[in-house]
């Protein structure tokens, strides 16, 4: 990476003389994701469709999953079988999971039809698929933790698939102690981490433009940088960045 920085990257101070590892890391982060790109106040005009709300719906559901899960976990595994409040909290946990998957799957379908991996957004797509897969495993361990007939049966059936590929010996679906660690700690952390990375990548790359967007479109033509821009640009400053320096 060159030491040269373009002014106006969101970094408040001149970062050219960053020479420590920490300084370089900060400079890299700020260049990749300056604050006004992380928390933008505007978006390209094409970001005007219901297709964009499902990712946020998935995040909203995930938060409710976590809140209801914490309440269930802190009360211990027997609580929801015997308390009507517990049963209700269990219902909210279940339904926020169903909504989470509904939003996520519609999001996946839409991002496919938008070919939203275009223009260097491959990792956004891949982290999306990973979050889908990790969420499926997390949900599966949740079903195994119900400590009721359903979990009993799922454990009995699922052991065959896991044993057939050699992982059942370590990931033992009938060992509730192991399942607690997976479902209450490791997998939620993994889902959270992948989702955070996914969303940060979306912010880093900016939203993918329409498939048929072209330089000659009115939306781009009348906004050539430098031509009609006021000196103090109202849009994210990366617009002035020379091509090819982002990656």
């Amino acid at each position: 990476m060159t030491a040269q920085t373009t002014p106006g990257h969101g970094a408040p101070v001149d970062e050219t003389d960053a020479h420590t590892w920490t300084g370089r890391a900060r400079r890299w982060l700020l260049r990749k994701l300056p604050p006004d790109k992380l928390l933008p106040e505007d978006q390209p005009s094409f970001v005007a469709s219901w297709a964009y709300v499902f990712g946020m719906g998935a995040i909203g559901s995930l938060l409710w999953i976590i809140v209801s899960g914490i309440v269930l976990g802190l009360n211990g595994p027997q609580w929801y079988h015997v308390s009507s409040l517990g049963s209700f909290v269990n219902s909210t946990h279940l339904w926020s999971v169903e909504l989470f998957f509904i939003f996520m799957v519609v999001h996946l379908w839409l991002k496919f039809w938008m070919a939203a991996w275009r223009g260097g957004r491959l990792l956004t797509w891949i982290t999306g698929v990973i979050s889908f897969v990790v969420s499926i495993v997390a949900a599966f361990t949740g079903y195994l933790l119900q400590t009721n007939f359903d979990s009993q049966w799922i454990a009995f059936e699922a052991k065959d698939a896991l044993n057939a590929v050699g992982v059942g010996a370590w990931f033992n679906v009938a060992n509730v102690g192991q399942l607690f660690t997976w479902h209450v700690t490791l997998l939620p952390v993994a889902v959270g981490a992948v989702v955070v990375l996914h969303v940060l990548l979306v912010r880093v790359h900016g939203v993918a433009p329409p498939l048929e967007a072209a330089e000659s479109d009115a939306q781009l033509l009348h906004n050539r940088p430098g031509a009609t821009e006021p000196p103090e640009p109202a849009e994210p400053p990366e617009a002035t960045e020379p091509r090819g320096t982002v990656q």
Binding site: P40, N90, F112, G120, E235
Partner: protein
């Protein structure tokens, strides 16, 4: 100005998709959208939970099994002694039964773990629990003193005789040389009915236990538990992988996994589980790598649903 044809490539090149957007923008409030999202989803969750609740079918204990289906329980116990139950013939990770593993061609993933969760069905499910009784049945000593060969012979003949008896009723079994086996299975049935087998199998004498492997395997070797599941449409051949009890939605996202078990060549393959899991892993990898797959990645251009998604944009350009 030439209109560049829309590229579906994931590569960062010089086209509109690869460059930072320099066109017109609209006001957008990320935090507000997040908060609205959380509130709307929260209301939905509370509403749907209040209306539909969630199912909680009580678990099945060994006591419930022994009480509701004593003949099935006894027949299963005899099979555990004879070494002819599903668990006894399972192979890794529970035991070393020959040729029991699911292979894909020469690849034997199931054997990779070795016997990491050893289960000796006769001893673990029947003999050891009986030995914990305050006054163990006298026949226990006869079993322990016998040779392996003698034990299997007794248990296998009894198991066959039970299957042949009317209603598989232990009381109606024809006479034969069953050694101590009928007494042992009867004692185990008593123990289960009184509820003490549940605790002994699960915790093996320890105060704490979170590992239900043995109880579950024993339960599943019978017919009672799988029949209950089948009556709830939960069996693998009933698309049960994705089903929840009652009418509550289950893991509908497992539809493809569930579907594979319904179709050939998986359906009748002896290594169906291994085949299905590996197929799903491959398909998942393909989904992740979809931007690399010619043809599939071009679908969004060939079937232009995106014209609807960005209709405002296309109208105004």
């Amino acid at each position: 100005m030439t209109r560049k044809s829309s590229s579906i490539s994931w590569r960062k090149t010089d086209d509109v998709a690869s460059r930072p957007w320099t066109g017109s923008v609209r006001e957008y409030d990320l935090i507000k959208e997040l908060i609205i999202g959380v509130v709307v989803v929260g209301l939905l969750v509370l509403g749907v939970s209040a209306i539909f609740g969630s199912p909680d079918e009580p678990s099945v204990s060994l006591k419930a099994w022994a009480t509701a289906a004593p003949a099935d329980f006894t027949a299963t116990a005899a099979k555990e002694l004879a070494g002819t139950s599903d668990t006894a013939g399972y192979g890794p990770p529970y035991n070393s039964t020959q040729d029991a593993t699911q292979k894909i061609g020469p690849v034997d993933l199931q054997s990779l773990s070795g016997i990491r969760l050893p289960v000796d069905t006769a001893n673990d499910f029947v003999i050891a629990p009986l030995a914990t009784l305050p006054s163990p049945p006298a026949d226990l000593a006869r079993w322990t003193a016998a040779t392996d060969q003698q034990r299997s012979a007794w248990a296998a003949t009894y198991s066959d005789a039970l299957a042949a008896a009317p209603d598989s009723d232990p009381a109606k079994v024809a006479d034969g040389d069953y050694g101590p086996v009928p007494a042992l299975t009867a004692a185990l049935l008593d123990m289960a009915r009184q509820g003490s087998l549940d605790g002994v199998l699960q915790s093996g004498g320890n105060f704490y236990n979170m590992d239900y492997t043995r109880s579950l395997l024993f339960l599943g070797d019978g017919g009672y538990f799988p029949d209950l599941a089948a009556s709830q449409h939960l069996s693998g051949d009933q698309w049960g992988v994705m089903n929840e009890t009652g009418d509550t939605p289950g893991q509908s996202w497992l539809w493809l996994f569930s579907l594979l078990y319904q179709i050939e060549p998986f359906k009748s393959a002896p290594n169906a589980d291994a085949l299905v899991v590996v197929t799903m892993l491959v398909l998942t990898a393909l989904l992740a790598l979809l931007p690399f797959i010619p043809g599939l990645r071009s679908l969004p251009r060939m079937i232009p649903l995106h014209r609807l998604i960005w209709k405002d944009y296309y109208r105004n350009r």
